[in-house]
């Protein structure tokens, strides 16, 4: 069996790949698959009909229980007979139907071959997931076949609709199969049927989803809209896929599942049978209104599929046998009918029953096929369709659920079927032509290739209709494989005068009556076709709604605005963990947040300055207020007894404020246009929520005592190990020296990066330059210059003092460097960049590099003496003025830090602080 599938795949692929060269001859390649399958089936028929399923298994993903299990039992053989048998006939037919060298013909034929293979796999698969795989393959091949003529917009739309409806159904089915498989703890189809899981909510959902998939595939109401659309495909494709085989996939699945689930799952029969019969009636009504013979047959197929779903959905012993007969009967007459339409189309160039002329002598065989097919379709005695209808009505009468209702509905449906069968027959022999035959519609003789396949099918219909006994073994085996309790079935044409026969005759007569009264009944028939939600409008509306909603949502949430993005992220991030935080009693730490009044005052100052910074319109003032926040923080540090931090903070604040101003010179004076009031309220709201959350988080983190604390150890060991009394500094240069080393490296890299960026932004003719307003030049004041010189010296001394004293008293390399940086800033303010440059002959990156090397050297040197990295040594010196100075190796390290910070400050001034070049000052003057 695997070999059969491989054969299909290979021949199909060859036909597609060499399609251009093969042309119509591709049928000989792709037809090989169905032909060999048919031969294999005949050879194995005996075994299978003796109720010995043939199984085969190839391990694929054993870890998942996903094995390539194939199983050919009675029902499988019946389906295989349809797939392979009609497949062979369709290939023969195609050879005559298509012109030899039509564009893309090889591809089309190859796809049909691939489809045949997928269908073979579908009916043979014994694993639900393998079945799903083949199911989707048939969907895709069907899609490609419908849309084969990609120059036709209608074909593309129809193909897409078919793909979306059946593909979506297929995905729903996959979910359903997974749930059902999970409930049953097996993915084996036969295993599932043999031992169905007990009803539960999960099973209900799973089965419902599987049914959705089956309904969409088998074009059941309300998913049936795609099938008539699919008729844009060439007629052989319609005959094969969209009447005989693919659309039966859903029926196939329902037939397999119904015997196991129809009984235990209470809603199964009402739901499935109702859908099936509704489809039957709706399809029948629509078929009666078609003028295109192909569309008429398509709606007829919808109707018949409804009947099959209803019958198989019952799952009773009668029903599985009756359904099997119906499957055979329908495939035979519907494929034949399509072939007739194809032949007529081929001969007359039209399928419109208002234009088809009466058949001439050469067309008689075609007309005969049409007549027998229509008779079988209508259920006229001595055609297989009649036998099938008899058994179906019989089974429906014994339905465990609402037998009267379903039988009545089926009779109505059958009457409609009889009516559209008549319409088909009448139309195909030109009796409904409303105008005299178009001279353009010139008849061509139908070649034997178009007639023979139809004749074969018709002969089968007729023989089986007269002597149905020939099907006994097949139907028995099929029914038994679906429901093991079924004994052998014996088919008869005539069962005596019973209710079923009466109903059959009522249906036939009713059909004739409807057909005869078609003109007066027109308005009634029209009603059936125009249900409020038809498949087509529903499909279109769903697509539109999806598009519109998504469009609107995109417009709101994805408008490219960074503040909105940030707001969404930050708000969610604040609300979710914030809520979680509040869920616990987090604030039971030390209650004292405020120790003294001075703290409260400073806090008020900070809050006020922060609020002012956000509310102000001028950038410059806002920056100054940010500086106020920083200085006040330093005050807070002082109050809490951390002078070291305070010194550093003040230094940094001074330096950054100056730098801020430097950059602000290049930006517009005021912030951009304010947002509208509602937006502002929203922003304030977001800010408040986020701020409160962060506050809560900070409080919570502080309230919790970590299990271990390193600070005590550090304080204890600062002097003995680090030779320093300033614990902060000892940590920086000793305990955590490696970190500091890393940090100053980053600092140096950042400085270089900042300079590079500033230079890149200043490229002549750059976009940025012309857009920004020219920087405002700073004026020079003599008094200021003199006093800065004095202050500069004082500051420099202080910086060096901080560096040297830092190990034992507040200060350190970093703080010293910052103060020195502030001194440089002072020089800059008084004398501009030239004044800074005059400070030293070296370029600003020299101190940066020297500092880095010094620090790294201080780290490595101890290694030379057999110590470890950053190991500190100490040496006491007696210096005349300063008294006893202890020189630790940490000082060298600290000096490195000091130099890096100074270098950084100088580099920033170098890159951002140089006065605007003369060119831009001139242009500024010009505009003034």
């Amino acid at each position: 069996m695997t070999a059969l599938l491989t054969l299909h795949a290979v021949t199909g692929a060859i036909a597609i790949l060499f399609g251009r060269r093969l042309g119509r001859r591709a049928v000989y390649v792709a037809g090989l698959g169905p032909l060999v399958t048919f031969a294999w089936l005949i050879a194995e028929f005996g075994t299978i009909l003796d109720r010995e399923p043939i199984t085969e298994s190839v391990r694929w993903v054993p870890r998942l229980g996903l094995d390539f299990d194939l199983r050919a039992d009675g029902f499988g053989a019946l389906m295989l007979l349809l797939v392979a048998g009609i497949g062979v006939l369709v290939f023969v037919y195609s050879n005559a139907y298509f012109p030899p060298n039509k564009e893309g013909l090889g591809r089309l034929i190859g796809l049909v071959g691939l489809f045949a293979g997928s269908m073979v796999g579908l009916v043979l698969a014994d694993n639900l997931l393998i079945l799903y795989g083949f199911w989707e393959l048939t969907t895709i091949t069907s899609f490609l076949l419908i849309g084969n003529d990609h120059t036709d917009a209608r074909a593309r739309a129809a193909a897409l609709q078919a793909l979306l409806v059946t593909g979506a159904g297929g995905l729903a089915m996959l979910a359903g199969l997974l749930i059902v498989g999970h409930e049953a703890e097996t993915f084996s189809l036969s295993g599932l049927i043999a031992d169905p899981p007990a009803p539960s909510t999960a099973l209900t959902v799973g089965l419902a989803l599987v049914l959705v998939g089956a309904f969409s595939k088998s074009a059941q109401w309300p998913f049936h809209g795609w099938l008539p659309g699919a008729m844009v495909a060439p007629t052989p494709v319609s005959a094969y896929l969209h009447s005989a085989t693919m659309v039966k996939a859903g029926v196939y699945l329902i037939a397999r599942l119904a015997p196991a689930f129809a009984g235990p799952v209470g809603w199964w029969r009402p739901a499935v049978v109702t859908i099936g019969l509704t489809t039957m009636v709706v399809g029948g009504l629509r078929a009666l209104r078609q003028t295109d013979l192909k569309l008429l047959l398509a709606f007829g197929t919808v109707s018949q599929l409804g009947m099959m779903v209803a019958v198989f959905g019952l799952g009773t012993a009668d029903a599985v046998a009756a359904g099997s007969v119906l499957l055979l009967g329908h495939a035979a007459f519907k494929a034949a009918a399509f072939m007739v339409v194809g032949a007529l189309d081929h001969a007359h160039g039209t399928r419109d029953l208002r234009r088809l002329p009466r058949p001439e002598r050469g067309q008689r065989p075609v007309a005969l096929i049409g007549a027998i097919a229509a008779a079988s379709m209508a259920g006229v005695p001595f055609a297989l369709g009649f036998v099938a209808k008899e058994y179906d009505l019989e089974a429906l009468q014994h339905s465990p659920w609402a037998p009267g209702l379903v039988t009545a509905a089926a009779v109505v449906g059958s009457a409609l079927t009889a009516a559209y069968s008549l319409r088909f027959f009448w139309g195909s022999i030109g009796r409904m032509a409303t105008e005299s035959p178009d001279p353009a519609v010139a008849a061509r003789r139908s070649p034997p290739g178009l007639v023979v396949p139809g004749l074969v099918l018709t002969a089968a219909t007729f023989v089986a209709g007269v002597v149905p006994d020939v099907l006994d073994r097949l139907v028995s085996a099929s029914a038994a494989s679906l429901r093991p309790t079924v004994g052998s079935v014996h088919l008869d044409v005539f069962h005596g005068f019973n209710l079923t026969l009466v109903l059959s005759l009522v249906a036939l007569g009713g059909g004739a009556l409807i057909f005869a009264l078609r003109r007066p009944l027109e308005p009634v028939l029209a009603l059936g076709g125009e249900l409020p939600v038809t498949a087509a409008t529903g499909y279109a509306a769903a697509l539109r709604a999806l598009n519109r909603t998504a469009d609107r949502v995109t417009g709101v949430v994805q408008n490219g605005s960074l503040p909105i993005y940030l707001g969404v992220i930050v708000l969610t991030a604040a609300i979710v963990p914030g809520t979680l935080l509040l869920s616990g009693a987090w604030n039971d730490g030390d209650g004292a947040i405020v120790d003294s009044w001075s703290q409260a005052a400073i806090a008020a100052l900070i809050l006020g300055a922060a609020a002012a910074a956000t509310a102000l319109h001028r950038r410059f003032t806002a920056a100054l207020f940010l500086g106020v926040v920083g200085y006040a923080m330093a005050g807070l540090f002082v109050v809490r007894g951390a002078p070291d931090l305070a010194v550093t903070q003040v230094g940094i604040e001074t330096l950054t404020t100056v730098l801020f101003v430097l950059v602000l010179r290049r930006l517009p004076d005021r912030f951009e246009q304010r947002t509208a009031a509602p937006m502002r309220v929203l922003r304030i709201g977001v800010a408040v929520v986020v701020g409160l959350t962060v506050f809560g988080l900070a409080l919570a983190t502080g309230a919790e005592d970590p299990a271990t604390t390193v600070s005590d150890t550090f304080i204890e060991r600062a002097y003995p190990d680090g030779h320093g009394r300033n614990v902060v500094n000892v940590i920086l240069v000793d305990f955590r020296g490696f970190d500091t080393l890393g940090e100053i490296t980053v600092l140096a890299a950042a400085a270089i990066g900042a300079v590079a960026l500033a230079r890149a932004g200043r490229r002549p003719g750059g976009v940025r330059d012309s857009a920004a307003p020219p920087p405002v030049p700073l004026d020079r004041i003599t008094v200021l210059e003199v006093s800065t010189k004095v202050v500069f010296i004082a500051l420099s001394t202080a910086a060096i003092y901080l560096l040297l004293a830092g190990h034992n008293q507040p200060g350190g390399g970093f703080a010293g460097g910052i103060v020195a940086g502030a001194a440089v800033a002072l020089r800059y303010i008084s004398g501009g960049i030239e004044s800074v440059r005059r400070l030293s002959r070296s370029k600003p990156w020299t101190p940066l590099g020297v500092g880095l090397i010094t620090a790294a050297g201080a780290a490595i040197v101890p290694l030379l003496f057999g110590g470890s990295v950053l190991e500190s040594g100490v040496h006491t010196l007696d210096v005349p003025v300063l008294g006893e100075v202890k020189l630790t190796s940490a000082l060298a390290f600290d000096t490195g830090v000091f130099l890096v910070v100074i270098g950084l400050a100088m580099m920033v001034f170098e890159s951002f602080g140089d006065d605007p070049p003369a060119r831009s000052r001139d242009t500024a003057g010009g505009t003034r």
């Binding site: 949502v553 963990p577 616990g584 970590p706």
Partner: protein, 516 residues
């Protein structure tokens, strides 16, 4: 300050026991990145792009080789995991699996970047260096067994990614993408760090083993702190994977960034973030599954639906793919939310498959973008099947695979997720996933149909003679190799999934105390 001296120094400091061999994949990448810079500097400008690419690929292959070696070693020696550097890194099959995925992502992105840089006339080397740097961050993330180390990995990964987004210096959109990514990413990193702090506050350790042990043996009187910490960690991870509502950056960044970089972001960054999420949330915090599960459910459902629905209405293909990546992230999040071994395996499989798919997809999108990387409107794809049949076919296969078509890598990826979700008993989530898959299938079909349609539509016929003759797309060698490899892998994983399935199931993240 050189690496050599640091390494030399490491021997003399009373350093934790470092198992260098176990860290070899990481070391290969880091040393490779450090070497790339001087090597690229020495190369002549003309050949710099190509040779640097070759070097980068060699480094990534070396890392894959090293991972394979360590994997083999782990299988042979016995204990399937080992920790190193005082329990800060956990080298187990989980991390090795993902290192390989990351390196594959790097290789694909590098191959695509080579042609891209030439086409756009951009200087070489930086992109590759950033790839390697970012990948080393990703490797730290997948290996980290300590929240602080994880955070370092996250930052190394992200900062390089921010720069990568702005790689195309002359395109304004590229800069905008980088800025947005940077600002929003900075916030999410801050949230993550807050989460680390809170978890440290609650458990007294940042080591994952320590956290798991503490939570297993202690009953917290007040869980608010821990839960808030978990929530913030999830925010950080969800941002990186692009889960709704932390996805807002994705469309803009994907659209603006250079196309090969997007392939990198979608594969490597996602892989690393999911690795972190799995190891931290699913494994270390498994005791609090009932607390984090609802959050992940919500993010997963939102991501799947929002990603699928919004993708459909976009008109820019890169934006569509951005939303589809959100959708994919939703799928993986759904698997994560199960908190079960099957879920972890499903995520790993998904990540591996997705890396290949997205590499191939963006490879072709890069080519279709043409010079300037701007031709990404859906209308630009109209009729491409006629002009570029092979590329169109390849893109079709990649997109169908992303939609989850059987016999491609994408099908099993989605399948394992849904199976894991259903097995975990939350079949409603499976249904949402199927619904999302259905909607997103529409999106992929839309692109495919556009490519195959429109050749004979009236408007095109009118436009064709007047428009300048459209030149055939030049496919550079690197892109050819990348697309072919991705194509082969996509089909191969779909047809013979067992090796990858086996690997993804073996690669379970472990928690081991450092003493082992």
């Amino acid at each position: 300050m050189s690496v050599a001296s640091l390494l030399a120094a490491a021997d003399t400091v009373p350093a934790p026991d470092v198992e260098w061999s176990a860290l070899s994949p990481f070391l290969v990448v880091v040393v490779g990145a450090c070497l790339l810079l001087p090597i690229a500097g020495l190369l002549p400008r003309r050949t710099r792009v190509a040779w640097s690419a070759l070097f980068t690929i060699a480094v990534a292959l070396g890392a894959i080789g090293a991972s394979a070696w360590v994997w083999h070693d782990l299988s042979r020696v016995g204990p399937t995991e080992r920790t190193t550097v005082a329990g800060a890194y956990a080298v187990d099959k989980f991390s090795l699996f993902l290192i390989v995925v990351i390196c594959v992502g790097v290789i694909l992105a590098t191959l695509l970047t080579e042609g891209y840089l030439r086409r756009e006339d951009l200087p070489g080397a930086e992109a590759y260096l950033l790839y390697l740097a970012s990948a080393s961050g990703a490797i730290i993330m997948v290996t980290a067994a300590d929240l602080i180390v994880l955070f370092i990995g996250l930052e190394v990964l992200s900062i390089a990614a921010y720069v990568l987004a702005g790689l195309h210096r002359r395109r304004l959109r590229s800069g905008e993408a980088a800025l947005k990514y940077f600002v929003l990413g900075g916030f999410s990193s801050a949230f993550f760090l807050y989460g680390v702090a809170l978890i440290y506050g609650a458990t007294g350790t940042t080591n994952l083993v320590g956290i798991a042990e503490y939570l297993a043996t202690h009953r917290l009187l007040d869980e608010g702190l821990l839960l808030a910490g978990i929530g913030l960690l999830i925010v950080g991870f969800a941002f990186k994977v692009g889960g709704v509502p932390f996805h807002v950056w994705t469309p803009d960044v994907y659209q603006g960034s250079p196309s090969p970089v997007v392939a990198f972001m979608a594969s490597v960054v996602k892989a690393a973030a999911f690795a972190g999420m799995l190891r931290v949330v699913v494994v270390a915090l498994s005791t609090h599954r009932l607390d984090w599960q609802p959050i992940l459910y919500a993010i997963a459902v939102l991501s799947m639906i929002v990603g699928a629905v919004l993708a459909v209405v976009q008109s820019d293909v890169k934006r569509m793919l951005a939303y589809s990546s959100i959708n994919h992230a939703g799928f993986m999040l759904a698997a994560v939310s199960t908190g079960a071994d099957e879920g972890i395996a499903a995520v790993l499989f998904y990540l591996a498959a997705y890396t290949v798919l997205i590499g191939g997809t963006f490879g072709i999108v890069t080519l279709f973008g043409r010079r300037g990387d701007g031709h990404h409107d859906i209308d630009d794809y109209r009729g491409l099947a006629r002009r570029e049949p092979f590329l169109a076919l390849a893109l079709t296969i990649f997109l169908l695979a992303q939609a989850g078509t059987p016999l491609t890598a994408g099908f099993l990826a989605k399948f394992y997720v849904i199976q894991a979700v259903v097995d975990a008993g939350s079949w409603w989530l499976g249904l949402v996933a199927m619904l999302a898959a259905t909607i997103s299938a529409f999106l992929y079909l839309r692109i495919v149909l556009t490519m195959y349609a429109g050749v004979t539509d009236a408007d095109v016929e009118v436009a064709e003679p007047t428009a300048e003759p459209v030149r055939r797309i030049h496919v550079p060698l690197g892109a050819k190799v990348a697309i072919a490899a991705a194509l082969v892998l996509t089909i191969a994983i779909g047809v013979v999934p067992d090796p990858l399935t086996h690997a993804s199931r073996t690669a379970r993240p472990e928690l081991v105390a450092p003493g082992d």
